[in-house]
């Protein structure tokens, strides 16, 4: 136990120092932005997604009139059991799915017609690590740096720093084929952040990590806030949400059922933690669906 705590403390100091060394990008505000003065990074209004089922089956309402706003520089937790609609919502926000109705605005751009601009501003860490097995960790990061039109020096600088922070420098020289699940998750996270995105969508970023690596990753995510990034985090780990998030939204059966600061929600429902908040509202546990 002492060993784990010591490591976490060491990681914490090291990461915070290194993160402050990473330069943050200046983003231009092109002319076709909807609302350039908005203080919100993400604005979702009456979002709805219905998957049409085959003949004889009912349609599936994955996201049902969901509305919320995420402030710039905020760590926003999106909680809910499996199948609640978290990933569908993220997929709409990043442009992989088209909403049936409603609007989603990312940093002032509508996802329907400003997707190219949005793609330059966001970093996405998908739930399942999507990694080319024949590339080394470093090559994989460089590939995505190149796709974001970063120059070689920029890619090298950020790659080395991010690898160092997450203690992946040595492994990054090897092909990803031999990586453990935790290492793949970390690499997944670095790829999402290589281009220094203004908004990061992290879909269950710590699933499959051992407790020590998970805590180190939490510190890393927390340190991103210091660079004024907006983090949209989905997670099953209530402890993770409580520790990291400024605000959380709870979604179940596609509906947003509660939103607020974790402490305020715990006080509001007179319970001990967020898990109990969820149980009180829905009558089931967040981890139940897993």
């Amino acid at each position: 136990m002492f060993y784990i705590d010591l490591n976490v403390k060491l990681c914490k100091t090291k990461q915070v120092n290194k993160m402050s060394e990473i330069k943050t990008k200046e983003y231009e505000k092109p002319e076709n932005i909807i609302n350039p003065n908005s203080k919100f990074s993400i604005e979702v209004d009456n979002l709805r997604k219905v998957f049409n089922a085959k003949k004889g089956y009912d349609d599936v309402i994955a996201v049902d009139d969901v509305s919320f706003k995420v402030k710039s520089g905020e760590i926003f937790g999106f909680l809910g059991p499996n199948g609640a609609g978290k990933t569908t919502t993220i997929n709409i926000l990043i442009g992989l799915l088209k909403a049936t109705s409603g609007t989603a605005i990312i940093n002032g751009y509508d996802v329907q017609d400003g997707l190219y601009h949005i793609k330059q501003l966001i970093g996405v860490c998908p739930q399942e690590p999507a990694i080319f097995k024949f590339l080394t960790g470093k090559e994989m990061i460089e590939l995505f740096g190149g796709l974001h039109s970063m120059n070689k020096a920029e890619i090298k600088e950020r790659t080395n720093k991010l690898l160092d922070i997450l203690n992946l420098s040595n492994a990054s020289k090897r092909k990803t084929k031999g990586y453990s699940g935790g290492m793949l998750r970390q690499l997944n996270l670095i790829i999402a952040l290589i281009h220094d995105p203004k908004i990061a969508f992290l879909d269950e970023p710590t699933v499959g990590m051992d407790p020590r690596v998970r805590r180190a990753t939490w510190e890393f995510i927390r340190s991103l806030k210091k660079t004024n990034k907006t983090i949209f985090l989905t997670t099953h780990y209530i402890e993770e949400a409580e520790k990291l998030c400024d605000r959380v939204a709870i979604i179940d059966y596609g509906k947003l059922i509660e939103i607020g600061n974790p402490k305020e929600l715990i006080e509001k429902y007179s319970v001990n933690n967020l898990e109990e908040v969820f149980m009180k509202i829905t009558g089931r546990r967040i981890m139940e669906g897993m």
Binding site: L96, Y116, K119, P126, F132, F134, E139, F144, L147
Partner: protein, 245 residues
Amino acid sequence: MNFKRIRVLLKMELLKIVREPAFLFLMLLFPAVLTIMFGFIFADPEFGMSMETVAPGLFGYACIFIIMIVAQSFTEMRDQGLLKRLNISPMTSGDFMASEIISNMIMVIFQVIIVYLLALPFGFNPNTKVLGMFLAFLLMIVFSLSSVGLGLITATISKSSGTATGLSFIFILPQMFLGTFIPVTATTKPIAMFMPSYYATNALSAIFSGDLTNSWIITGFTFITIVSLIIIIIGMFLFKKFGNK
């Protein structure tokens, strides 16, 4: 299209071919093994055929297998969520397709060189110079476009990489039997007339004969260019609309 993005994607595609044994075999070792095997078989006078007549078909045969490689590669990337991940980046579908087409064109150049050099010791003696060789390379590069397009169509209708391997033979077998090294008869000719490989093989035979005024060269180029463009456009459209999910 962004050249920087095309360059990084191209590097990734080429590393895949070099580092993935299955792709390396199909792209480079398979044409080599095929040429050596056919060389030994056809070098025997008892067989009644010579390497001279068979070699042009071997160039086409190697190129046809790009269908399987492209289909496997795209279905694998789709299954592993890699296409989605690439789609989230600022990369456009044009950047991605351009890198895919260029990487396959580079491989075709290597295939032509391998088959050409390995066929020489088995009696292949082309009566051609620099212009002829240039035309042969160009023809195969254009022909590879149709294989990439058919690979994309196969990937669109395949639900997994395994299915893609099987289904790719829908396009490989007719082109193989009706337009490469197997002689076309009066019975099979009406069908062979629709196969790009038939035109590629005949045009190559004409190029290697040294007669660059042979009508098969212009006919082959025209047919293959038109058909390849149609197929690649259909393939890209279908894959973008239905296969990328």
